[in-house]
Amino acid sequence: MSDWSIFRDDLIEQMPLILGGLGKTLELTAIISLTGFLLGIVVFYLSLSPSRFVRSIIRGYISFFIGMPLIVLLFLIYYGMPQWGISLSPFTVAVLGFTFNVAAYNAAYLTTAHNGLDPVEAEAARAQGFNRLQIFKLITLPQVLRLSIPALTNQVICNLKDSSVAFLIQYTEFFARMQEVAATNFQFFKAYFFSALVYLALVSLIVLASRALERRYILPT
């Protein structure tokens, strides 16, 4: 199994680059999970607007970004926008593209959870004299977020996995570095198998965190 020792030596030699890539993967995943979460809440809030105009804009936003392949969106911003004089760094493009996309998905999850709520609680809050934003913050959102923990953490897993797409716009994350390892020794199976194990390990961590979060916030029945 001398193949394995060659692969191991290359892996160790390139470890600083691989770890750097892993750091960039985690950085991108963490940032888009947070920005996508926050923008998702804003989009969800606007989707409850009394104004029909605002609601239709939001419906359009969600349909557009769920309907558009992420890779097309990233290429459009990274390779297309410079023709209009707007050049952004790979990192900026990745954060922008992912955030719009992830927010649309998150808003859709929150809407689904909201459809399952009993509207009488919001009516009771209105009858108590709370305004729209207070009802959203104090009644609607805490309930909707609890119900959406599985869907929202699932989205974080998707974010981690999809972040590998960012190498196509020159963002040198973990998967890009592993491709370089594969290219130096042509041990494709080993390189990509190793990549798969790393992604699986990270996803397992997210799943564990998600379960802990659910246990922490579950309402007694």
């Binding site: 209105r126 009858a127 309402l219």
Partner: protein
């Protein structure tokens, strides 16, 4: 001067008249019971009085001020009206205590200590303070209605509205709610209760307002209404209750 005075109140939903010229007065210390069959507009009437539903026309005077205008501070109006719902409508993600303190903290700007003291006072008054840390899903229907009433009372309302307070409860728990309403009456709380539960009506009041097809058909004692009334609608509604007794 009446506390609430409703004059010729009309509410249309896409052309259909649900309220067709309601006239009603509630005086301070009153317990007004409004009865009627399902769909007669009882709940719509209550919701017009605190503007959860916008009336189409007519006037509503609350403490002498017309509250149907555009320049009325609706949220201040609502804060002075306690509302107890049929389905309890407790906030399910909050404990019993937090259900009562929420409005005190966020609308009255009380400190946490002040709000909890006030809330515990109301919970004690209704005999439910021992359940303060439970969630709504962990208490019975009758207990939920006590919490809902405590939540309303904590805001020191001018009047309390009950919207079918017993229709989600079994007879034993309904009796509990009737006792609560009688307790409030003894403490001189002004109340307006809509219900189709004749048993509840008998337990809390001897007079009722009968609402049908969007108008007040009669205001009389239950005994009179139950005794072979000339109006067939009234007869139908109240005779079922006679058999039930």
């Amino acid at each position: 001067m009446p506390l609430i005075s409703v004059h010729n109140l009309v509410k249309e939903f896409s052309g259909q008249r649900v309220l067709n010229g309601i006239n009603l007065e509630v005086y301070e210390g009153d317990l007004k019971v409004v009865m009627g069959p399902s769909g007669c507009g009882k709940s719509t009437l209550l919701r017009c009085l605190n503007r959860l539903i916008e009336p189409t026309s007519g006037t509503i005077h609350f403490r002498g001020q017309d509250i149907t205008g555009a320049d009325v501070d609706i949220r201040a109006l609502r804060q002075s009206i306690g509302f107890v719902f049929q389905q309890f409508a407790l906030y399910r993600h909050l404990s019993v205590l937090d259900n009562v303190t929420l409005a005190l903290l966020k609308l009255r700007g009380m400190s946490k200590a002040e709000a909890e003291e006030k809330a515990l006072h109301e919970l004690n008054r209704l005999g439910i303070a021992t359940h303060r840390d439970k969630y709504p899903s962990q208490i019975s229907g009758g207990q939920k209605q006590r919490v809902a009433l405590a939540r309303a009372l904590a805001m020191d309302p001018v009047v309390i509205f009950f919207d079918e307070p017993t229709s989600a409860l079994d007879p034993v728990m309904s009796r509990e709610v009737a006792d609560l309403i009688n307790q409030m009456r003894a403490e001189n709380v002004t109340m307006l209760c809509v219900t189709h539960d004749l048993r509840l009506a008998r337990q809390i009041s001897d007079r009722v307002v009968f609402l049908d097809e969007g108008v007040v058909k009669a205001e009389d004692t239950i005994d009179h209404l139950c005794n072979a009334h000339s109006d067939s609608k009234i007869n139908d509604f109240f005779s079922s209750g006679v058999r039930g007794q």
